[in-house]
Symmetry: C2
Subunit: 203 residues, 2 copies
């Protein structure tokens, strides 16, 4: 039980400091990743650049993985904002097929840019159902607007799956496909899903 009145007034100061440190650490981590990549990033370097002690990194983020996950969440929020309220065709205002193809290319680019960070964040972030839920729901909404019949929840998830980091690594890093080839392949997949009532369902 706290018995010192000053706690009541110092608590907000602590919270403000914490928030300021958190932002400074995220900015420092982003700048270091920009110049040196994710693999060489140390918590010591991030703390030094942010002008705080190394212990502050662990107090604010729990671990190096936690710092990566927070940075990733920040970038995911920016990307989601561009889908929800950014300019068309990714954002609202374009016809649904244009939005869907813009989504695929943008999601692929986002995952390629964040791949090292996603892998560094590990299971802290890797199976983030909140993120998967957002992208699946967005694709499902567009499939519905396009008049696609069938299990739209399943089809949306199946269209999102090949845009995941492990599949992109398989296709591009191991398989040597270019970004343009992968985008063309995904657009073809979308065209088949959207154009064709299922032979299985109509039989």
């Amino acid at each position: 039980m706290p018995k010192d009145l000053p706690l009541i007034t110092t608590a907000p100061v602590v919270r403000r400091d914490a928030a300021r440190n958190r932002e400074a650490l995220l900015r420092a981590a982003a700048e270091l990743i920009e110049s040196c990549g994710v693999d060489d990033l140390t918590t010591e370097a991030v703390a030094a650049r942010a002008g705080v002690g190394k212990g502050t990194v662990f107090r604010r983020f729990g671990s190096r993985e936690g710092l990566m996950a927070s940075l990733l969440n920040h970038r995911e929020e920016e990307w989601q904002a561009s889908v929800i309220s950014g300019p068309p065709p990714l954002g609202p205002g374009a016809p649904p097929m244009e939005r869907l193809l813009a989504f695929g290319a943008s999601r692929l680019r986002h995952h390629r840019e964040q791949a090292a960070l996603i892998e560094a964040a590990g299971t802290t972030w890797g199976e983030n159902y909140a993120v998967l839920g957002f992208v699946s729901l967005h694709v499902r909404m567009l499939l519905s607007q396009l008049g696609v019949q069938g299990d739209l929840g399943y089809l949306a998830t199946a269209l999102v799956a090949p845009l995941g980091v492990p599949v992109l690594r398989q296709l591009m890093d191991a398989g040597g496909m270019s970004e343009a080839q992968v985008v063309a392949g995904w657009n073809d997949l979308v065209a088949r899903v959207v154009a064709q009532p299922s032979a299985t369902r109509s039989s």
Copy 2:
């Protein structure tokens, strides 16, 4: 440089012992997983059941993850053998569409059964391009036999992606879909991919 002649004759004995221990450990691990699940499996328990010292586990498999990966490889080989030379419709002899639908249902079941093991094996096994390559090539061959036009390598990978463990966890564990619903969704996806020349390519 070896200078003791006995090495020449003892080496095969050591290799025979190593192979026997390896098999005994894999069998012990499989039996323990059957009764207690993957999460509670300890290397001590596996060693004790196989009648060897704990050090033998690490000599043969490197780590607990390595043991899981070896067990997984063993099961993957069995599954691949059933595709290559097992009875139809999964194995050869059925029409390509029947083989493709049998592949999807069987791969889904295999991944559900091995999901805990795949996750326990972690990155040792998780991004196993040899396995991904086999399944993609198999689907690509069937798409080709079905006369599908387009980038068959991409389409095969895109059809395999929603059968991966993380997507199945999202659909079934987080989303509450039944195995029958997921199989029906995948079959519908396949029917769309196979039935329809791409609107994008034909325009």
